[in-house]
């Protein structure tokens, strides 16, 4: 009976472990008799994506439009709660995340709002009534919880996830600080005007100057307040400096790759060679060829995507491997290669 050495250096085989190993044998024997061995009939693929139709494109502010989407037959869409976002897959294949900013009780439409900023959003602005897009989700990376007291801090287009939250807590204790460059650039002021004005501070830089610290925006926050903050990174950073408890901000997906160079990957066990373009990660490319490959954070810190390197020069960008480990492994989500690298896969 195999077993590891004893805990206190008395025996080369631990008696209790030898006994426990027998219990595991018994478990194995039992599970061999139980169901689950036969390959079951293949399960239907359940997709997270759906096709939706653009029903309305409405200008909401300078450079901001809202887009109302629905199922082609107006059937109910998956339910969502304040804080949820959709992944929009645009005709060009570009994928962008947008917070849902409509009414969660309206099950037949989704509404998002988009500021023109970069190529993805320009494509959204070009959408017209009747166009068809694919969406994935909704998913919640900004979970909204029930607490007695809220402070919402929104900056510019960051109002989108906040708006349904504010509307959901109308009869609770809440305050909203809404920053932006100018009033003309701030969407949904009309909808906010329907709320209790004593609880709202519309704060355009044009009238109040650029906020110099998070503190300035946090005057309404008591120790027990939960602060929901969404806006430009600089604003969030300022709030984070001055608020250390009950602080919620949206968790974003990994940033796009900048300054990457193309390289090649050879999968030694499969004998295939894959090209990794400059703007994609090795993981993304490998996933297409090997759908079952493991990964999680896609930011180089969890270590679950690590693979053995059988050859080639790796440029490491992870935050998880030790120097020793780097000699034979790489985190394929962030690390890249010079020329061709060979992976044991």
């Amino acid at each position: 009976m195999s077993a590891p050495p004893d805990l206190y250096g008395r025996r080369s085989k631990d008696r209790m472990w030898a006994f426990a190993a027998r219990a595991v044998d018994a478990f194995e024997a039992v599970t061999r008799k139980l169901a689950g061995g036969e390959e079951p009939p293949p399960k239907p693929v359940v997709s997270l994506s759906t096709t939706v139709v653009v029903r309305k494109v409405t200008p909401e502010a300078e450079d901001v439009v809202s887009v109302t989407l629905s199922a082609p037959d107006w059937s109910p869409l998956p339910a969502w709660q304040p804080g949820c976002h959709l992944d929009l897959i645009l005709p060009s294949g570009t994928r962008r995340q947008y917070s849902l900013c409509g009414d969660p009780d309206d099950r037949s439409t989704y509404r998002i709002a988009v500021r023109k900023l970069g190529s993805g959003s320009r494509e959204v602005h070009a959408l017209g009534e009747g166009d068809v897009v694919t969406v994935r989700g909704p998913r919640n990376a900004f979970p909204f919880i029930q607490v007695p007291r809220y402070l919402f801090i929104a900056g510019g287009i960051g109002i989108t996830p906040i708006l349904p939250m504010v509307k959901a807590v109308r009869d609770k204790d809440w305050h909203l600080v809404y920053c932006g460059r100018t009033r003309e650039s701030m969407p949904f002021l009309d909808e906010i005007a329907d709320l209790d004005p004593a609880r709202v501070w519309i704060r355009p830089d044009e009238e109040y100057g650029v906020p110099v610290s998070g503190k300035e925006l946090l005057t309404w926050a008591l120790p027990s307040t939960h602060v929901y903050c969404c806006g430009p990174p600089k604003m969030i950073a300022g709030v984070r400096v001055d608020r250390r408890t009950g602080l919620h901000f949206e968790r974003f997906s990994p940033p796009p790759i900048v300054g990457g160079r193309p390289f090649e990957i050879e999968l030694s066990r499969r004998g295939t060679v894959l090209e990794v373009p400059a703007d994609r990660s090795a993981l993304d490319v490998i996933r297409e060829a090997v759908p079952g490959v493991g990964y999680s954070c896609r930011q180089g810190f969890c270590g679950t995507c690590t693979l053995k390197v059988a050859g080639g020069e790796v440029v490491h960008h992870d935050r998880v491997l030790t120097d020793d480990e780097r000699r034979e492994k790489m985190a394929i989500c962030v690390s890249r290669g010079n020329g061709r690298i060979v992976l044991d896969l």
Binding site: A23, L34, G36, A141, P143, R244, R251, C302
Partner: protein, 281 residues
């Protein structure tokens, strides 16, 4: 109303143990070591979860579940590495974790490695993980509601580790069960897995706390059952009746992990956890 559709993602947490005292619940060596067993057990155990779940990934045909599993894998990997850091720190206090950890390595890497086990062995392991995740969920819920630990003056960083971990356990509590249900879901498998999983965990825990109390140069006495009862009464550990009642819920016909714990409470803790807040760059 509980938040739903959570996008599970690992958090890049870091903990600094430089100032951690040996008995980080002051004057409570037994309770301290009951928690320290986690630092011995979880790095190996949770890495094993990660490996098994990676094996199961190709079987998932539900995209939402697949996303959940991907998030779960990273969270467990971060739990393992956070507890590994605390384990490494035990040496500073003259406690050598190696003999105990070596046994676990043998168990998880050799004994449970069955390359020829096929689908059946995968299903068996998924069932065990689902059962263990039921336990981590109610323990996570317990630690999020343990004011006595604060009152006893427990080390703030260690409490943050335990509660960040507990909160993520509550956050992802349904994933292992949903995965098992997706791949197999048989009631008998579920019961058999708990029937072996729970005693195994209890046994490993008892051995772990005995070992730590024996090799800790500051501890004169041995671990005794009455210490467990006492610490439970003081609210420093879950009580035995709480554990038994929680385990039994797993056998209820309509069981689903979403009935355990509260997502809102986990989200609220993560919004105040120093480690979780610092993790978002």
């Amino acid at each position: 109303m509980e938040p739903e559709n959570l996008a599970l993602r690992p958090r890049d947490v870091r903990f600094d143990w430089a100032a951690l005292p040996a008995h980080w619940i002051p004057g409570e060596p037994f309770a301290t070591h009951m928690f320290n067993v986690m630092h011995l057990l979880l790095p190996e155990g949770e890495r094993w979860f990660v490996e098994v779940f990676k094996e199961a990934l190709p079987l998932i045909t539900d995209e939402r579940l697949r996303e959940d599993v991907v998030g779960f894998i990273g969270q467990e990997a971060m739990h393992a590495s956070a507890h590994q850091g605390a384990q490494d720190h035990l040496l500073q206090h003259g406690i050598d974790p190696a003999p105990y950890v070596r046994q676990l390595e043998w168990f998880f890497r050799e004994r449970l490695d069955r390359p020829d086990g096929g689908r059946r062995w995968l299903v068996a392991r998924l069932a065990v993980i689902a059962a263990v995740e039921h336990m981590t969920a109610f323990l996570g819920h317990w630690v999020l509601n343990s004011p006595k630990l604060d009152e006893a003056g427990a080390d703030a960083t260690m409490l943050d580790l335990l509660r960040w971990h507990g909160a993520e356990e509550v956050e992802h509590r349904a994933v292992a069960y949903d995965l098992f249900a997706h791949v197999d879901g048989g009631f008998v498998n579920r019961v058999a897995a708990m029937a072996i999983g729970f005693p195994a965990l209890v046994w490993l825990w008892i051995r772990g706390v005995r070992y730590l109390m024996t090799v800790d140069p500051r501890c004169k006495g041995k671990a005794r059952w009455r210490d467990l009862v006492r610490a439970g009464r003081k609210g420093l550990l879950p009580t035995v009746p709480y554990l038994v009642a929680s385990i039994l819920r797993y056998f209820k016909p309509g069981y689903h992990p979403s009935q355990e714990g509260s997502t809102s409470q986990a989200v609220a803790y993560l919004a105040s956890s120093p480690a979780a807040l610092a993790a978002e760059q």
